[in-house]
Amino acid sequence: MHSGVQLHRSFASLRMTGSVWLMVACLLLSATLGWTQEQEKEKKSSPELVVAAAADLSVALQEIADGYQKQSGVQLKLSFGASGALTQQIQNGAPFDLFFSADMDYPRQLIAAGAADQASLYQYAVGKLVLWVPADSPLDLDLKGINALLDPSVKKIAVANPQHAPYGRAAVAALKHAGVYDRVADRLVLGENVAQAAQFVESGNAQAGFVALAHAVAPAMRGKGKYWEVPADFYPPLVQGVVVLSHSQHKKEAADFLEYIKTKDAAELLRRYGFTLPQ
């Protein structure tokens, strides 16, 4: 009897060993295929720029990059996140060539740390903060503005994390300026970056949120919500800077892309996504 059980067990383990081998074979195969593809790409492709960018640029910069790619043949890889989070990654050696921040402080911090080139610093845009609610929201933003948040139907207000996202800091500043911060502080929910704050509202889990105008006017979001532009004197201007990073292997291509950002085409696109341009 006992040996019967053991026999059964050894069969089971045999079967297991078989499937483990199959899995190993699959892994090896896919790794090899991936490697060959990588090699082919290396052979024929022109240099590639890896770009870290603030979350409010997620739509606009993708379009700019697509246009630039067609024109120059340079491949652009974009990573979006909270500016503070990206700064942190860059300081710890993340392999980016360029960094588009949502403020000027983080690029300056990187320059001071020797991680970015002082001469390359350029103010490419000024972001706008808006209060955004779902399209079916009963809140009258045009009439009440920021005070609409005091309505009892507003259970949660999404903002980007002010600890490391410039839009989160701007939102907190605006709430304080309007004198309502203390009354809504316990209803704030923090997105990791401004795009997640927008997503909290879009999914309906927060009834209102402070997002970038760039998100409110993005094609994917249009019609899903109503927005109210927070007056410019409510928060310190969101002047946004870009820098070339010190350890970039493609400084020339990075500088070329920066020149493209300064062209009329790129500026027009940024304007269409709700950014104003610095004088």
């Binding site: 942190q88 994390n161 929910v189 889990n205």
Partner: protein
């Protein structure tokens, strides 16, 4: 600089709640997986194992949408309680239960399946109901597996990050867990505090696991181990 004890206690509460719920919820699921004669059983096993393979962010995203007011489930909850499940402790518990489900169910099911069928058959021939057989024969013989499953789901929830990031909203005392707190501090360049908190979490998790596996070692063994 100081450790955020509030976040630590909150995480502990979350982990205890989740592993307790999973101990109750996981038993019938594991029992069914171990003993059901159904041919399509493997499909259920695959569904239970999904959270191991899925990125926590995917799970968190689904939970966020499923619990939100755009879904029937979310609307039902809102009509019941007046608020959404996202950004609440209950919401985190639900997300974490899904996230840690395989870590409880798989050890449970494996230990149930390892119980000698002759003992189960003997219990049945002596007139015991399946429920009585379960509590008097199967469960006592599966105690090491039950402890392992509960300890794993506890530890897994202690270190949970992606799901909490997606559905938590980072509210102090409600949804800001230790892992979120550590993440925030690293993003804010506060390495010293991040280090301190991370070390505390490491030491605590090691202590819990060591105690559990230590207790699990001797008294429950029935036969010799090779």
């Amino acid at each position: 600089m100081a450790i955020d004890w509030q976040a630590f206690w909150l995480t502990l509460q979350l982990a205890i709640t989740v592993s307790a719920v999973l101990l109750v919820l996981g038993l019938p699921i594991a029992y069914w997986i171990a003993f059901s004669p159904r041919r399509w059983k493997f499909l259920v096993e695959a569904v239970v194992a999904l959270p191991i393979v899925l990125p926590p962010t995917v799970l968190g995203f689904y939970v966020l949408v499923a619990l939100g007011p755009r879904s029937p489930l979310g609307r039902w909850w809102i009509s019941l309680t007046g608020h959404t499940l996202a950004f609440t402790f209950t919401g985190l518990v639900i997300g974490s239960i899904l996230y840690s489900l395989p870590f409880a169910v798989q050890p449970f099911a494996a230990s149930f399946a390892g119980v000698d069928r002759k003992l189960i058959a003997a219990s049945a021939t002596l007139g015991a109901s399946p429920l009585r057989t379960f509590f008097r024969v199967i469960a006592p013989l599966s105690v090491p597996g039950l402890i392992t499953g509960t300890a794993l789901s506890f530890a897994h929830t202690m270190g949970e990050f992606g799901v909490v990031l997606m559905v938590g909203g980072n509210i102090p005392g409600v949804t800001r867990t230790v892992s979120i707190d550590i993440f925030d501090r690293v993003q804010a360049s506060d390495y010293a505090a991040a280090n301190e908190t991370a070390l505390l979490l490491l030491a605590f998790s090691f202590a819990v696991l060591a105690i559990v596996y230590g207790l699990n070692r001797k008294p429950w063994l029935i036969g010799p181990v090779k």
